[in-house]
């Protein structure tokens, strides 16, 4: 598609429930990232995909968080047994080809706002 699409845009859930957040990146973007943005905080790195593999998942806060990517395209971030501290905006970003010095521009989706009651 023309941009990075994320769904749902808003999710309100009860503590202890599982949630799935979806990201549909720009076609051809081989690298995909998940970041979390809490109120007043900077973007917190969660996980990086290159194709379908995740060489860096160091930012996942706990084993309740997992993510997968299939077909080098759509990615799903799953949070099990949600807690109130999981409330945040979850942002997905894609990256196109290799840029100068290995640093690249990320294209972000609008995010999924998660509220855990």
């Amino acid at each position: 598609g023309a941009g990075v699409s994320q769904s749902p845009s808003n999710k309100v859930t009860e503590k202890g429930k599982d949630v799935e957040l979806r990201c549909d990146p720009i076609s051809g973007h081989t690298a995909l990232y998940w970041y979390r943005q809490s109120l007043g905080q900077g973007l917190e790195f969660l996980i990086y995909f290159q194709g379908n593999s995740a060489p860096d998942k160091s930012g996942l806060p706990s084993d309740r968080f997992s993510a997968e990517r299939t077909g080098g395209s759509v990615s799903t971030l799953t949070i099990q047994r949600t807690q109130q501290e999981d409330s945040a905006v979850y942002l997905c970003a894609g990256r196109g080809g290799q840029g100068r010095s290995g640093a690249n521009v990320l294209t972000f989706g609008a995010g999924s706002r998660l509220t855990v009651l």
């Binding site: 690249n104 972000f108 995010g111």
Partner: protein
């Protein structure tokens, strides 16, 4: 660990009142310093990439500059539509695929 700190947290300007935002970074082997703009309810939108000290980039009323320790985003004669949160991010040599973000500066421009 790469660190990025932005100041001030918030900036209120009168239309036409120029100002600067600061981004201090501690990154081993800088591979790129990025500026993004984020509007409420939207994802960050790319503005600039700077790669080496002394480099400058301009876009309309925005100019980004880079030294070995800091980057500045200068807003010249701002308009209300420049109101947004401006995010700074850096990529270092150890993890050049990953951006470390600052907390952002929220700019409000009053007409």
């Amino acid at each position: 660990e790469d660190q990025v700190t932005q100041s001030p947290e918030a900036l209120r300007l009168q239309e036409g009142e120029s100002s600067s935002l600061n981004c201090s970074y501690t990154v081993s082997g800088l591979r790129g310093l990025f500026w993004y703009r984020q509007d409420p309810g939207k994802g960050p939108e790319f503005l600039f990439t700077l790669y080496s000290a002394g480099e400058e980039k301009e876009k309309e009323r925005l100019k980004a500059t880079l030294t070995k320790k800091e980057s500045f985003l200068h807003i010249t004669a701002p308009k209300p539509e420049d109101s947004a949160t401006y995010l700074c991010a850096a990529a270092g040599a150890s993890n050049d695929y990953k951006l470390s973000f600052g907390a952002g500066t929220t700019v409000t421009v009053r007409a």
